[in-house]
């Protein structure tokens, strides 16, 4: 009798388990949804977005994972969105399950919030990443951020417009190699074009970070931007003089904005910015004119060391009590790290893959890329990777988040003020002394704003 009862209980238990068993892994019958916020382009046709669709239709469908994008803002905007969401501010939405960000976000969200990728991505896949990209990704032996693609900064030129200008003013590409000569070209173009800007920096933080390091100084000291050093003075004054004179655009937003209309013909910013640079300009009458794009290595000061900045956000995953979510995020990022995706998605967007093999192939074959725009980006970039040294990063210190956001704003507003003063005060003759005075004043103002001079 006892045996019979035990048998019945076993049958019922097995049947119940088979019908209503708990779910500890993903299943195609009951998919898990992962909310993703990333920086890989807010254009619908972004290769990354197409990649997500492919994942959802293939690997995701097979394993029951749906990646749902909830935003693709610029990294600076994402910083703010996530920081406010983490603080649960009204109207800020929720922190996404998975997002890409710079390490400065760790100043807003504690590292313990994040998943340890070591437990969700096979070691084999992690080891396929170039170790240089994995530096400082670990906090307390936990791999809390993982890179899938990286970028750098260089000079991107509207070669069609530049050629005409260069021809008439005997300017060459060599003049764009150093910061000093580049700014001279900016001023020359301003005069030649009758008041148009030549160049726009997408952000000033990296300009100072790289050039100060290039001159042997240190930009970030004791967790703050050091505006008092002689190197800072030199880097600032050189920029300020060109900006005040008008060669450099001080417009808000990215260089790609004024690029569309031909208001500027070059920009210094992330290589990933190339996906937003159109190969045509449109004038006010809606006429469309095709242009060629040319990229050149990042200009540094004449006597400075050749340094380049390593950019690109990493993936952070918020630990979930639903283990299926954690597994699903691991599956998706693992999929992105696979050679096929590394080769097909990221080089289309101005990023370099982190997979060692794919990166090596790209370095070897950059000159044979069929897309002209991408070829013009990767050829000089790969040269830079060989001839430039990596600039020490400065994006994970105590006040990194605030410093990064405030510094860009303060420099721009300060230069705008100086430019406004210049336009009001300039005469018809030599205005060199006026520019020098205004530049010096603006430096002192910046030093005061940042609290380093009283």
């Amino acid at each position: 009798m006892k045996k019979f009862i035990l048998f019945c209980i076993s049958v019922i238990s097995l049947f119940t388990l088979a019908c209503f068993g708990g779910e500890s892994s993903t299943s195609p019958d009951n998919p898990v949804v992962i909310k993703l916020m990333h920086v890989y382009g807010n254009d619908i046709t972004s290769p990354f977005r197409e990649g997500i669709d492919i994942f959802n239709q293939t690997e995701g469908k097979k394993k029951g994972i749906i990646i749902e994008e909830i935003g693709a803002p610029a990294s600076e905007v994402m910083d703010i969105l996530i920081a406010r969401a983490a603080k649960k501010e009204p109207g800020a939405g929720e922190v996404p399950d998975l997002f890409t960000s710079y390490p400065r976000i760790l100043q807003q969200i504690p590292p313990s919030t994040f998943l340890d990728w070591n437990h969700y991505i096979p070691q084999q896949e992690i080891k396929s990443i170039d170790p240089a990209f994995l530096k400082n990704c670990t906090v307390n032996k936990r791999l809390i951020r993982i890179p899938v693609a990286k970028s750098s900064e260089l000079l991107i030129l509207n070669d069609t417009a530049f050629s005409q200008f260069a021809k008439e003013t005997k300017t060459s590409y060599k003049d764009l190699e150093t910061t000093e000569s580049l700014f001279d070209v900016c001023n020359r173009y301003y005069r030649w074009s009758g008041g148009k800007n030549f160049l726009q920096y997408n952000g000033y933080y990296n300009y100072f970070l790289v050039n100060i390091a290039s001159l042997g100084g240190t930009f970030i000291k004791d967790g703050h931007a050091d505006c008092m050093s002689p190197e800072f003075r030199k880097v600032y004054m050189t920029l300020a003089k060109a900006a005040i004179k008008g060669g450099i655009s001080l417009g808000s937003g990215y260089a790609s904005d004024r690029w569309k209309t031909g208001e500027i013909i070059s920009g210094i910013g992330s290589t990933a910015g190339i996906q937003y640079l159109r190969e045509y300009i449109v004038d006010r009458e809606n006429n469309k004119k095709p242009i060629f794009i040319k990229c050149l290595p990042y200009p540094v000061f004449k006597n400075g060391k050749k340094l380049s900045v390593l950019r690109g956000t990493d993936f952070f995953a918020v630990k979930s009590s639903d283990e299926r979510k954690n597994i699903a995020m691991g599956v998706f990022v693992e999929w992105l790290l696979q050679e096929k995706q590394q080769d097909e998605i990221f080089p289309q967007m101005g990023y370099i893959p982190v997979n060692k093999t794919v990166l090596h192939n790209l370095e070897q074959n950059s000159s044979s890329i069929s897309n002209r725009k991408l070829r013009s980006l990767y050829v000089p970039w790969m040269v830079m990777r060989k001839t430039y040294e990596d600039c020490p990063p400065a994006d994970n210190y105590n006040s990194a988040f605030v410093t990064f956001h405030n510094f860009n704003r303060d420099v721009r507003e300060n230069l705008l003020e100086a430019r406004k003063n210049y336009l009001e005060q300039k005469g018809s003759g030599d205005d060199g002394r006026l520019i020098l005075r205004l530049a010096t004043n603006s430096l002192q103002r910046l030093q005061t704003i940042t609290g380093q001079k009283k």
Partner: protein, 611 residues
Amino acid sequence: MKNTFKYYKLLLNNLKTQSRSVQGRFVVFLLSWFLVFISALLLLTFLAGFIRPASKNINEALDNDLKFLSLSLNNGVDRLAAQSVLFSKRLSLETDAFLQKERIKFSDLKNNPELICKLENQLFPVVFNNLQQVPCSGAFFFLNTTTDDKREERYFSGLQLKLVNVFSNVTLYNKLSLFRGDMLVARNHSISLHLNWHAETDSNLYPLIFKTMLQKKQIDNPQFLLGNDRQYPDNGESARLLFYPVINKNKEIIGVCGFEVTNLYAKIMLKIPPHNKYTQNAIYALLDKTDTGYSGQLSSGGSGLKTNLQLEPYNDFMRLTHKSQKYIGLSKILTTGASKHTLFIGIPEARYKSLVKADWQKMLLYLTVLLILALLACRHLSKRYITPVLTNLKEITRIAMDKEEKIAQLKKDSDELKKKLVDEKEETIKKLTLEKEKTIHQLTLEKNETEKEHQKAAEQIDSLMTSIAEAETRFAETRELVQKLQKQKSEADNKYALSCQKLEELDKEKRRVEENYKLMQTDLTRITEQKIEEVDAENYQWFKESLDTLTEREKEIYDMHLAGKTTKEILTEAGITENTLKFHNRNIYGKLGVKSKKELLRYASLMNRIS
């Protein structure tokens, strides 16, 4: 007595044959009642709505969601439509004001970029404010004018503002960009140009809008329209525009205005209510009828325009097919303003099938559990009420059998067993006696033989001892004689001085005595040699040399033999069995090169004598 026994036997047989059928019938009876009860219970729960097929639950859940969604959509569209009416009026007023201020007619705007730019700058706040009023991804107005009417393609001036981040529903931190309009408007109002910015709008982009705009007739009762899902040519983004004509004071259409809702924005804003089990991972689609089926937007997958969608009946549901993806759900015609659309809500076909399957499994589980419980109950009841009756009857029968037949049978069996046991006992005793006698006889023979051997050996020893004793006696006599002679010699020596004469005689006597002594010595040697000759010299030599090769145990036994102990004494003293002693003896004999105990004793005795 015999009759009574027969009666009980018959009764037992009857019970034996009937017991199974009684028990079985009882179980079947109970089970039938249980099944009737379960069926009634199931029927009642089904009628009460506690148990329902999964498809019905899915249908109900989807129907609720569809109602909710259609209500949300209608509310959203109504809100946009209402705002678009205000938007249109405001634009109309602002445009009239601008024309009056500039002292121009509307037609004077054509081919005048500066004036158009000026008007756009003036109307920017109107667009901006309206965009902030309603949930949408963008707001626009297009005017029936252009900066250059000599171009091959037809363009229209106007402003279209869009949220920068097309994905975000967090408009609090979302900036605006200029999608269409003069770039100076963007510069003047510090907003960026959209990635796909153009100064004017191509008439092919929104055919329905421009068809509306180009109507020449006067409009008395304008209606809003929710356009079909359209895909922008530059970035693949899809959107629906809700628009309303902008009418001047002469009731002429001078343009259109409205709001843009991108598919992505709609996906974010329009959510299916919190999922229950049956609508988990449900999707919705807002579709427009086309020649080849349907096109429109899906809330899952990419946000681009989906074309070649098929919608067909499937049991009590509708099935939406998009490429390889199939969804089972419900659809509804949605009338918004002057346009009609189809709203569909459904779950993936695989999920639907899985839910139906799970429902069947659940039902099967319930039934299995109930059946097992019924079986257990029947078994328990039959065991409780039928088994004791049968057991008691069996007991009565067994007692009856004990009284009569079983006792007789047992007695008979007992006698037979007794006889058998006695026979077996006698036979065993006989057998044992024979074996005993045989053993005694054998032991006696062995004993006699051993005693004989012992006696023989003793005799031999005695003889040897006698010979030795005789030789010893003779030797002692000879020695005494020698001593005597020596005494005599000393006396003679003493007397030498006294009697030199007698020296010769004494010398002679001495030689004679010496000769006698020699003879006796020779005699003694001869006796010894005679003994030695009795044994083999080589064997004796081997015996002597091999004594050291004996083990301690063997040496012990050897010593016991020499001590003249009998086999029994040796066995007792050494605490060994006879076989072990035989084994040791065999080893001792082998090592010393003797064939028997007698020979061993002879050699040993001789060796002692010689030493």
